[in-house]
């Protein structure tokens, strides 16, 4: 199995070496600092919660176990979905499969190697996330040095089980549909399911469960906590195993259950693989035959952009077609729509309108801070959809660079194709939020103008950093923002958001103060100066990011 995976791990080692020889220590340091900050954040929050819970008599350990059970259950859910999608690539679409299948390699070795690869690719993020969580439990409940290896022993089968299950689901699906259709189907189903779960979770308003009025007495509450959430699910066994260890009552049963089930799953998975893989792999070679006319885009966008030179116009049409014909791209819009609804729902449920003038102050504050939050949401969306734009052209640069297309036209097209939908979303988010908050016209105007300026800058930063840190070898657009460049882009955007918010706060504070004191709101020179400064920040970031991106693109070599 080690030998089968040799090209993969050797490539990884070589990449690290190349990175080091290029002086990538700054890159590594940034990654370590950002990762550590995230870990410390998660650890800190959970530490505080667990410390508080531990102090509650009787209920404390039960509640801590329940929280761990829910966290692990959500991990299992995420892992199954992620494994189903990853298994499709590693078992059926990967480039090394032709070599492996044609080589005299035993089917079991291929299965185990590919299962290991799937597990690693789909679980590393969850495994990293589990570190600060288990660390917080270990510290609060004084698990001692032995807790770390014990936690690893518990988590490993918990990662393996969804990997086997996800792989088996994919194996069956590929035998029913061609692999490329299955990928389309899965990305829609997975994202619709994820969206549905988020909606459901938000609409039942879990924060209400925290209020004691929901339960008749303490015994009812304890009874609910004692009942296992899902006695047949491995997440529950893992939670029992961990809490048992931490409370000093070591019961080997949950661990035995975890390991024996994992072993049984791998055996059953291997048997299923033996039966179905050959047929599925053959079917996976079938292309998704699709005849498309594409006349709709030519009529709509082509006509609307009739004033543009033909090169720019066709470039925009091409980008729009590629986006909507790739299911893995547009299906993520489902999740985006759900997140926007949840966002607005959260604003609606804020208990703000309880009276004047305190209500006015908080409404204005929330509306103002919402600009930062909306900006962050837009930055994340731009990271997913605009940041990869230049990288995705990598394989086609031979055509673009050998043709008389001006690179500025390419950048222009990428910028506007990304910015216009982002701007529409930004205006909807901010406008709707301000309507729900019932803000005054001044704040509505400040909000809409600021978010527009921020959107232009965020889109430019995404494109600029995307050109500065291109990932030409990655075919999957969703993987591109998770690179080092994606991290630097997010850090730069957050810095811009913070700067704009700080600058604008001076003007908004002047406005709030005047209204609060019952004085007329005067837009004086000082206020205008702050607005101009905020505008200059956005314009500067936009111009600089596009300029740097263009210069970098001119130096690309293929």
């Amino acid at each position: 199995m080690w030998r089968v995976l040799e090209p993969k791990w050797r490539t990884a080692i070589q990449r690290i070496r190349e990175e080091r020889s290029r002086g990538g220590s700054g890159k590594l340091l940034t990654m370590v600092v950002a990762g550590s900050a995230f870990w410390i954040g998660v650890f800190g929050i959970l530490y505080r919660i667990l410390k508080y819970i531990r102090g509650v008599e009787d209920v404390g350990p039960l509640l801590a176990g329940k929280i761990l059970g829910v966290v692990l259950l959500s991990f299992v859910g995420i892992l199954v979905l992620s494994n189903v999608i990853t298994a499709l690539s590693s078992f059926f679409l990967a480039k090394d499969l032709d070599l492996l299948v044609s080589a005299p390699v035993d089917w079991l070795r291929i299965y185990l190697a590919k299962l290991g690869e799937t597990l690693l690719h789909s679980s590393w993020m969850v495994a990293l996330m589990a570190v600060p969580i288990f660390a917080a439990y270990g510290v609060i409940y004084r698990g001692g040095v032995g807790f770390a290896p014990y936690a690893v022993l518990t988590v490993f089968p918990l990662l393996a089980l969804p990997a086997v299950a996800g792989t088996a689901i994919t194996l069956v699906l590929v035998n029913v549909f061609p692999a490329r259709r299955t990928r389309d189907l899965l990305s829609i189903i997975a994202l619709a399911a994820a969206g549905g779960v988020i909606m459901l979770f938000r609409l039942i308003r879990p924060e209400r469960l925290a209020s004691p009025e929901g339960f008749r007495n303490l015994l009812d509450f304890i009874a609910v906590l004692r009942t296992p959430t899902s006695p047949y699910l491995p997440s529950e066994w893992a939670s029992q195993a961990v809490m048992g260890f931490l409370q000093g009552t070591v019961d080997p049963m949950p661990l035995v259950l975890l390991w024996s089930t994992a072993a049984a799953f791998v055996t059953l998975g291997a048997m299923l693989h033996r039966q179905l893989f050959a047929a599925g792999f053959t079917k996976a070679q079938e292309a998704a035959e699709r005849f498309v006319r594409g006349g709709m885009w030519r009529v709509t966008i082509g006509t609307a952009l009739g004033f543009l030179p033909v090169g720019k116009r066709e470039f925009v049409i091409k980008d729009v077609k590629l986006f909507f014909r790739d299911t893995t791209q547009w299906s993520q819009l489902i999740l985006l729509a759900v997140l926007v609804l949840v966002y607005l729902f959260n604003i609606k449920t804020l208990p703000l309108h309880r009276g004047e003038p305190v209500g006015f102050f908080y409404v204005t504050l929330v509306s103002f801070l919402n600009l930062g939050l909306a900006g962050f949401v837009l930055a994340a969306i731009a990271a997913r959809f605009i940041f990869p734009a230049v990288s995705l052209e990598g394989r086609h640069m031979w055509l673009l660079r050998s043709s008389p297309l001006d690179l500025r036209a390419l950048l222009w097209s990428k910028y506007w194709v990304g910015t216009i939908p982002l701007l529409a979303l930004a205006l909807i988010l901010t406008g709707m939020t301000n309507v729900l908050l019932e803000v005054r016209p001044f704040m509505m105007a400040v909000g809409l103008v600021t978010i527009s300026g921020l959107t232009f800058a965020i889109a430019a930063l995404a494109l600029g950093f995307g050109a500065l840190y291109p990932q030409f070898e990655t075919e999957n657009a969703a993987q591109i923002p998770t690179s080092f460049g994606g991290l630097v882009y997010m850090m730069a955007t957050i810095a811009l958001l913070a700067a704009v918010i700080v600058v604008l706060w001076q003007a908004v504070y002047q406005y709030v103060r005047a209204v609060y004191l019952g004085q007329p709101v005067v837009v004086d020179a000082a206020m205008i100066l702050w607005f101009v400064l905020a505008g200059a920040l956005c314009a500067g970031a936009t111009g600089a990011a596009l300029w740097v991106g263009l210069r970098r693109m001119e130096r690309f070599e293929f």
Binding site: V292, G311, L322, R325, W398, L399, S402, S403, F558
Partner: protein, 262 residues
Amino acid sequence: MIRLENLTKHYGSFVAVDDISLEVPSGVLYGFLGPNGAGKTTTLRMIAGILRPTDGRVLLGGDDVQRQPIAAKMRLGFIPDRPFVYDKLTGAEFLRFVAALYGQEGDAIERRVAELLEVFELASWKDELVEAYSHGMRQKLIISSALIHRPQCIVVDEPMVGLDPKAARLLKDIFRQFVARGGTVLMSTHTLEVAEAMCDRVAIIQHGKIVAEGTVDDLRRQHRAGDASLEELFLKLTGGAHVRELVEVLGDGERTEPRGPS
């Protein structure tokens, strides 16, 4: 039409192309030959404006590719060795897109698209996404895209790879007609029979330098090779002894018995 002046390309300390100067006049089909890693593709990519030279310059019809890129590239049709095309466009859409990059659209282009797809036997595939095309079909599509804007010169890297015999013959005929009408073709190839049969002149490049240049007859005379074939000349100039040694090793080496999966 194509003029290379002291063209040089360094990758770090490695010299891929070393001070090459070359002139390819109009109406000539020029072969660019050399072993793997000799610098052929790097040279062609610099001519096409995809790579920036470390030193020297490329002129297409008198326009410098780096200084007047738009004017220079308007004359050019480039066919790369690897056929990367937008998978989610149809064949017809791809050709229209390429025409638009050259500022061309309208009925004339629609007719040209239909004509090229017909010639390369892709007409029945024109509304199908490129992701369903075979390697050879992609190659044909890229060749069509290089011809869509009626270029004055074509730079082509390994044109015969992936083409079926019929398409290969068609391409040869197209190139010959193109040259007969005053066009220029600069073609790199490993298929020496093709080069010998088609090219008016050839250059042989090794370790980034041109080691021989002229018609095949010129090369025979220069290297006192009698009536040797281009293949024999090529091996003589680029270290054919190695090839003979390799053939001997492969022929006399111990036969490895299959041992089954380990």
